[in-house]
Amino acid sequence: MIRTFLTLAFLATWCLVPGAFAAGDAPALEKQQWPFQGLRGSYSKDQLLRGYTVFTNACMACHSIKYVGHRDMMRAGFTEAEVQALAKNLDMSIDQKLLTAQDDQTAIETFGKVPPDLSLINKARAGLADYTFALLMGYSEDPELIHHSFPKGLPEGAHYNKAFPGHAIAMPNPLTGPDLVTYHDGTPATVEQMAKDVTVFLQWTAEPERVERQHMGLYVLIYLVLFTLLAYVTKRAIWKDVKGH
């Protein structure tokens, strides 16, 4: 019966788990390689700072990250002096959260809706980080493409986006061209680079504990494997006299 079970468990994982993501009607997304993935994945401080730069310059006019302030960035390896300097550039204290100056009323008048808080966005859409990246790279002015989805033309005030479910998004393309920002480390600010960096930053705001979690997990797993091996050897020793074993 144990063999039957393993087969069924295998079957169940195969048909149930990937289906959970296929169930939506969102467009298929290209899988990216992210530095934070994997057993030893982590965030690089430089990339986080680049992503922060993109966020504060190109997104914060409309979006907040209400669960994160400058002080919280010390968890990612920034020193107090560094976050003080960053906050000062924005005329903020390090204990204030990254809130947009735009009020909801203005947003509704301009876009018809309030731009969502981005703290958790990378965990709040099917496709996770791949989605955010695809969304930022997904704008297109190609009339044929637009006509294909919207034969009668795009709805009033909407923009065409390949990754957005329904393809008509209220957000205008925030990354219209290269060099919207100047990076502290001299990395060329191509559109793709900016999209990658801000996505990584948003992953960090969604899971600031991720690196600690992944590093700790490895030790816990090693410990458990040793524990289980010892338990197995002990079990064998205790059971050696039992008939049939």
């Binding site: 069924l8 048909c15 169930a23 979690r213 816990v220 008939k243």
Partner: protein, 402 residues
């Protein structure tokens, strides 16, 4: 047990064991329950590990739950934020929450395997009907607890899942809509609902503990069944629970904790839904409302039937029918090993259960509804066939000892 006057009571506290034994015989009680004085069949397979694993999973849920409750706020304006506070600001908060979240899923995996084991080896048959029935009570309580807990983070799926499921009760004739309003404490799922769901989610696990005690009590009346499903007669068929099964359970625990830990540290939200990271919004309905994975087979049965009342009945019936299982299957042979018809039917039932789970995940339209209907028919067909099998199935020769 009661004090007998002619038994002189030991007053020397230096003889601590006897001193305590005369006042509260808890050590011998434990020894008789899970120690070297409790005899278990010597041929139990690893399938018999899942009962004690379920117990450990339950304790882990309660411990992590208590620590979460110290920081959680059951208020519609604060619930979502308080979860983020736990994840970001509370020391080890993310670990506690991930343990609790992944722990719930793994608890259900363990209990599903535990139940499937009982179904395969006929453990529900006489004289273990009450043991089985108490198990079904536990299962119902677990489902209630899981459902209530999923509402607490107050994300989109929390809110809409709660709305859909509580609305089911409105099909009760005459009083249904009133019951739903009473349950909500208002005219929609809202602040009073969240507050009482938190209270109930906190209380029910302790009720589960109480029923588990009864479950184990019932188990001890006749002891464990075994893979051959035969009643044991010889003293040599048994070995003491301790140390044999204690060490086997400890080893099993290690094997269990490895994938569990992997999920906790590397994929804590893999089994969850991304929509639950969006704060609840009564004005925006998610594209697909799906419950947690462990409800999916029953959710599929609910949606397979176009008449709402019947769907609700079928869904509850699909679980409640387990109570009468010992009287549906009265075949004298317990273990499926020796039943040439029951065994393949059992396999079909399990595969069909997984299929139902898949249907529960898909949108309730077109071909998916047809598949769910067929699978629902197979689900109930299995139970309908059992009385027939009991009468006509010829078992293979059953060994007389293990």
């Amino acid at each position: 047990m009661a004090h007998t006057p002619n038994h002189p009571v030991e007053n020397d506290i230096r003889n601590t064991y006897q001193w305590l034994e005369d006042r509260l015989p808890i050590i011998s009680f434990l020894n008789n329950s899970v120690g070297s004085n409790f005899m278990a069949p010597r041929n139990l397979s690893y399938m018999w590990n899942f009962g004690s694993l379920a117990g450990i999973a339950l304790v882990l849920q309660i411990l992590t739950g208590i620590f979460l409750a110290m920081h959680y706020k059951p208020d519609v304006h604060m619930a979502f934020d308080s979860i983020q506070h736990i994840m970001r600001d509370v020391n080890w908060g993310w670990l506690i929450r991930n343990l609790h979240m992944v722990g719930a899923s793994f608890f259900f995996i363990v209990v599903y395997i535990h139940m499937a084991r009982g179904l395969y080896y006929g453990s529900y048959k006489s004289p273990r009907e009450v043991l089985w029935g108490l198990g079904v009570v536990i299962f119902l309580l677990m489902m209630a607890t899981g459902f209530l807990g999923y509402v607490l983070p107050w994300g989109q799926m929390s809110y809409w899942g709660a709305t859909v499921i509580t609305n089911l009760l409105s099909v009760i004739p005459f009083v249904g809509p009133d019951i739903v309003v009473w349950l909500w404490g208002g005219y929609a799922v809202g602040d009073p609902t969240l507050n009482r769901f938190f209270v109930l989610h906190f209380v029910l696990p302790f009720v589960i503990i109480a029923v588990v005690v009864l479950h184990i009590w019932a188990l001890h009346m006749h002891g464990s069944n075994n893979p051959k499903g035969i009643s044991l007669t010889k003293q040599t068929d048994y070995i003491p629970f301790h140390p044999y099964y204690t060490i086997k359970d400890i080893f099993g625990l290690g094997v269990y904790l490895i994938p569990f830990t992997f999920m906790v540290f590397y994929a804590p939200e893999y089994l969850g839904h991304t929509d639950n990271n969006i704060p609840a919004n009564p004005l925006v309905t998610p594209a697909h409302i799906v419950p947690e994975w462990y409800f999916l087979p029953f959710y599929a049965i609910l949606r397979a039937i176009p008449i709402k009342e019947l769907g609700v009945l079928a869904m509850f019936g699909s679980i409640l029918i387990l109570f009468v299982l010992p009287w549906l299957d009265k075949h004298p042979v317990r273990s499926a090993r020796f039943r040439p018809l029951y065994r393949p039917l059992y396999m079909l039932f399990l595969a069909n259960f997984i299929l139902l789970g898949w249907c529960g995940m898909m949108p309730a339209e077109g071909i998916y509804v047809r598949i769910a209907q067929a699978a629902t028919a197979i689900y109930f067909g299995f139970f309908a066939l059992l009385p027939v099998l009991s009468k006509y199935e010829k078992a293979k020769p059953v060994p007389t000892s293990i």
